[in-house]
Symmetry: C2
Subunit: 199 residues, 2 copies
């Protein structure tokens, strides 16, 4: 077999793990299933990672980065504040509709991390990052558009984060795209109501 660096193999194994988990769930992602997906031997796994937990730590970090990146890009663009807010929400929402399994996986990983003593911190960090990303989004909107929110930023951000999370979860479990989209439309309108009315 090809001689790959340990670093390269680590990357391949993390990617393979994400594919297996997305397809079959976290519980089914055994070391054997992962190395099989990556077309490696079982021995290669423990040559690259000290334990399965070490792999999972890397998987969680990789997934969180993938989720955070698009959210930050949305923000930079033209349009007034209302358009941008709606566009941001809808861009995220389209990603949920197109890639439900990926989002399902992030929730599974959060729970897995919460229940794994060595990874519990990661679950907290994951959510802190969501909140931080959304805070930057809301503050940038305010700064660019010179508007104000009628509620404290911390509260607004938690409300926004919760609505996004809740609607995603609802769609993942109900799989009614039309109904969920109507609800997120309502959520967007409700958020815009929190903008201070221009005098």
């Amino acid at each position: 077999m090809a001689r790959l660096s340990a670093e390269e193999r680590r990357r391949l194994l993390v990617d393979a793990a994400i594919r297996v988990m997305t397809r079959d769930g976290v519980a089914q992602a055994t070391t054997r299933a992962i190395v099989s997906e990556a077309d490696m031997s079982l021995g290669a796994f423990h040559y690259c990672f000290r334990s399965k937990e070490e792999l999972l730590e890397n998987v969680i970090v990789a997934i969180t980065e993938r989720t955070a990146l698009p959210a930050q890009e949305i923000l930079e663009g033209p349009g007034d504040v209302e358009e941008k807010l709606r566009a941001s929400l809808m861009s995220y929402w389209q990603h949920v509709l197109d890639h439900p399994a990926e989002h399902q996986l992030t929730y599974e990983l959060t729970q897995y991390a919460t229940r794994t003593p060595g990874l519990a911190d990661l679950a907290r960090t994951q959510y802190r990052n969501y909140l931080k990303t959304n805070t930057r989004l809301m503050e940038a909107l305010r700064a660019n558009a010179d508007v104000a929110w009628t509620v404290p930023t911390e509260t607004l951000v938690r409300y926004l984060t919760a609505v996004i999370d809740g609607l995603t979860l609802l769609f993942l479990n109900e799989r009614d795209a039309e109904a969920a989209t109507a609800a997120i439309d309502l959520a967007a309108r409700q958020l815009l109501n929190l903008l201070a009315q221009p005098a």
Copy 2:
């Protein structure tokens, strides 16, 4: 040992399973851990249930009922529509603050069911029940108080369900009661804005 009916044992095992899962997570709830918690022999398990999956089916049904019951009681009480809506939300919220592990468990079970071929239907049913309960809540509010909602009931209900779910999930992961409560206060105000203004 005492001679118990199979039905009684089934009840005891389901309760024991819920305790183990609440404490240690679904993945840790092995048949051995459950019978140990119930103070039974391993053999008793397979005398009462054909398989572990059959137990889990019963666990999910039991948990869903427990969650749905308080929500229905909240509804029957005095007060105007605004008070009742706020009181309902806050009663649920207090339960989340007091028993986070129980709510954590319901999310875990939903995921477990989703990933288990024989139980996948149960996950859908669970969410359909949440929606149905919330629909009854909203319709009863409307009927009792003779007010109208400014959005379709189906959309309102999904929005409500999502906000509740999202804030619960946020609290479970962030564990900041103060911040999450401020957000649910905001959510309650936002919901009340969807009532048609009395002329």
